[in-house]
């Protein structure tokens, strides 16, 4: 019957067109790996809401730390396509995955952890196990263990961070380290340049983040 032949033809046509809409692979804008050995990829489990504690003691006037963290989450979130992470603020360090604070006052002790050279406007620190396969909790200053995996120290010095715009930029840059970008970009056009001069992630920053989030993590929080 003509109708049946037509239906079979339509079905075959439909089956042959079953190529799913595709987002092609993307290369990183720059190397996002931690500079250990051949480079180590780290990121949070995808879809995770990261608990962040903003310790505001010692904040210079006009520096809104919780607001800056949420703004950093927003601008980095604009680079995402699949809600790979989100952030929520918590009220105590005991509930936190990440702690942000000013250098004049901390709530965790990173003395036994990997800490980059000091002197920067922002410093992101973490602790790992000896095999560098897992982040371990950074103890609170009271000595109690915690679940905090990243400690972010922001300078309160007006020499290093002279105004609120620079403060927001530094918080956003350090936030980039927290969510998985382990190195600095060599380009001044990128937020992850060592001394950032731009306020939002560039296309290269966005590509790098999207790339690293979907690589197998050798180091997980």
């Amino acid at each position: 019957m003509d109708v049946r032949r037509g239906l079979v033809l339509l079905l075959l046509t439909a089956a042959s067109a079953c190529d799913a809409p595709t987002v092609p692979s993307e290369a990183p804008g720059y190397d996002p790996t931690l500079p250990f050995g051949a480079g180590v990829i780290y990121h949070w489990p995808l879809g995770r809401s990261i608990a962040v504690y903003a310790h505001t003691a010692g904040a210079p006037d006009g520096f809104d730390l919780p607001g800056a963290i949420l703004r950093a989450n927003e601008i980095w979130g604009d680079a995402l396509r699949y809600r790979e992470f989100d952030v929520h603020l918590v009220s105590t360090p005991a509930e936190a995955d990440v702690v942000f604070h000013f250098d004049t006052d901390s709530v965790v002790s990173v003395s036994s952890c990997t800490t980059p050279a000091t002197g920067a406007a922002g410093i992101t620190s973490f602790c790992t196990n000896p095999g560098v396969t897992q982040f371990v909790g950074i103890p609170l200053v009271s000595g109690e263990p915690s679940n905090v995996k990243f400690d972010v120290q922001i300078s309160a010095s007006p020499v290093r961070i002279p105004n609120a715009a620079a403060f927001q930029r530094i918080v956003a840059h350090e936030f980039g380290h927290v969510i998985g970008i382990g190195r600095h970009s060599a380009s001044m056009a990128d937020l992850m340049f060592g001394a950032p001069t731009v306020d939002i992630p560039s296309d290269a920053d966005a590509q790098t983040l999207r790339y690293v989030l979907h690589q197998p993590a050798q180091l997980r929080p």
């Binding site: 079905l11 595709t22 092609p24 692979s25 995808l46 879809g47 979130g77 979907h214």
Partner: protein, 201 residues
Amino acid sequence: MAHPARATTLIVLLAAAPLAAQSDGRPRFEAGLAYSTNLLEDANGTSVSYAVGPAIGAGYAWTLSPGTNAVLGARLSRSGVSIDYADGGSESAGSGWVIDARAMLEREIGPCAAAERGCATVHAGAGAVWATGPDDVAPFTVDRGAMLAGEIGAAVRVARGLPLFLTGAAQAFRLGGSTVGDPVRETGTVMRVILGVRHGR
């Protein structure tokens, strides 16, 4: 990617057939469940899809010639949107609507004139689909407007006297590459299957 104006033109052209047919228009209503294949697949292993969701629809049929009908129909379905990551994780990302409007030719292939059980019909048609979802999740991050769609399907009458049919339809629409900034760079086909019941010949 269909331009909205093109899809509208197609519907208008296909709608011309029933307007010229006999004036024996019959309303029909349907309800069922809709399932779709992935809305996108990212080379990084992530996929986004609609979950199975409820669908309702309405239409109007006209007899073109004995055993052949022209049908105009529209359907609305609501489904959860889920994201599946390559690392095995998944996330529910809210929900979205799918609306379709289509013009179809339908052929009766059973004892339909006597209004008996077993009356069967097959149909094929074309139209447009509008798909919505959370605007921070691809493929909903860009406005796609109407997308051209094709559909085939069948129905079987399950009650004598009562115009109640079991229905099944397979629908396909093309998605991707629509605008600058669309992350879905390679256009592909999304298939939908809608199973349900219909009241009305």
